[in-house]
């Protein structure tokens, strides 16, 4: 009987190894959450966060995965960092209490709750965005996804682009409405290296 159990265990071992989720670490130099917002109904302004970290898992066999991103709110830039002759730049204003309130809420987080697959690759992510102390569901469509297998000294690397949208007023960021739009577009370029 013991021999039978041992034999079954040995047979099952490669299967369980194959089914194990693979762990990845977000590459901060190739992962940038970008955002878009309407300005005065005239143009779409772009901004991005320069510092993001996090972890991800991927289990293609089980068609499952997870991602956990932490964004440094103070790292935002909209291209207006230089105040010139003005008292303050737009980025300084965006970091203040009217918008991202980085002194009180230095981190923005996104935690997935579910990966949806289309074939072998994830096609969308369901998850929760926490901004200004408010957590709300925000879903991301994965517009592009690909993994490069390990080669030489390089580990396996997966990456792509994801996009979504939310209303900033849902998170209590109401300053400047409606002149500065309510709907925020989210476009994330991401890469992660296998641990």
């Amino acid at each position: 009987m013991r021999k039978l159990i041992a034999a079954i265990s040995l047979l099952a071992l490669p299967l369980s190894a194959a089914a194990a989720p693979e762990a990845f670490t977000i590459d901060p130099y190739h992962t940038y959450p970008n955002f878009t917002v309407d300005h005065l109904g005239v143009s779409t302004m772009y901004g991005r966060f320069d510092k993001t970290s996090g972890k991800a898992t991927l289990d293609r066999a089980a068609k499952a995965g997870s991602i956990d991103l932490t964004i440094e709110a103070a790292s935002l830039t909209t291209g207006d960092n230089d105040k010139g002759t003005r008292a303050r730049s737009r980025d300084e204003h965006l970091r203040a209490a009217d918008f991202f309130n980085v002194a009180e809420f230095p981190k923005i987080t996104y935690k997935s709750t579910k990966f949806v697959f289309n074939g072998d690759n994830p096609s969308s992510i369901e998850g929760n965005l926490t901004l200004l102390g408010v957590t709300r569901p925000v879903n991301l469509a994965i517009d592009r996804f690909r993994c490069n297998s390990a080669a030489g000294n390089s580990k396996e690397r997966c990456g792509g682009n994801a996009s979504g949208k939310f209303k900033r007023s849902d998170f209590g960021m109401k300053f400047g409405l409606p002149n500065v739009g309510d709907e925020i577009g989210l476009i994330i370029e991401f890469e992660a290296v296998k641990d």
């Binding site: 960092n81 230089d82 105040k83 008292a87 303050r88 730049s89 980025d91 300084e92 204003h93 970091r95 203040a96 209490a97 009217d98 309130n101 002194a103 009180e104 809420f105 230095p106 200004l132 102390g133 408010v134 209590g172 109401k174 300053f175 400047g176 409606p178 002149n179």
Partner: protein, 273 residues
Amino acid sequence: MSGLLENPAVQAGVAPLVAALIVAALLGRTRFAWLAIVVGYATMVALTTGLSFTPLTASRKIMLLALLAPLVGLVADTWFARRPVPMVLLAIAAGAAAVWTFLSVLVQIDGAQMWLAGFGILLYASAMVHALLALRDDPLRAGAAGLGLGLATGIAALISASIGFLFSGVAIATSAGALLLVWIVSRKPIAPGVLGTVSIGLPIALFSTGTQMLAQMPWYALAALLLIPLAVRLPVRESSPAYVRAFMLSLYALAAACLPIAAAWFAARSTVS
């Protein structure tokens, strides 16, 4: 109409002024006329971010305390306005409320800096409220202080990257201005009591501390703001008509208001963004 109400000048200036004028005109013969301050502020809030208290962030605590300040004033006026020790305790309680307001920011500051910042907030907010309470028997001086403090806080906030606190400061300034205007016309100013002075002192202490903690106002601009309630205690000819006294006292307040504005400007120009 909605386009008009979305205009920042209407939201922070015209609408609070009109709302405060209505309250001051209706209740002008009673000390409840000083509710004009909170009504002006509440009008600005309703037209900009709206009234919301969850989650209870520092900005929302400021809103909550600014709206509750007149109630505390009413209770104090009823029970202990004539006694000096409760006035000091009230000022210290205001300081403690300010520390509570910014606790979520303070806990993120490392080590001794956190205690230093917390003590600074306690000291500043207590001093501001105490300086205003000292004007509780003098409507024109208290009104002029509200005008100067509101404008100084608002303009310094604008320079320090916070338009929200600009709106808040200007709403207090226009409401105080509305009261002065009504009394110049009616020639019957009503003493603010604790109700009126706390309605100015606590919100101003919180707006300015908020601009320092959540935007970029330097700490020494806060110290300079404390000069405004002191400036309105300078002598004016008491036999002069109300409009002359109101004008002179407003002039004192606005002259002193230049200092915190200059401090904020100096800090903005001396830092690289």
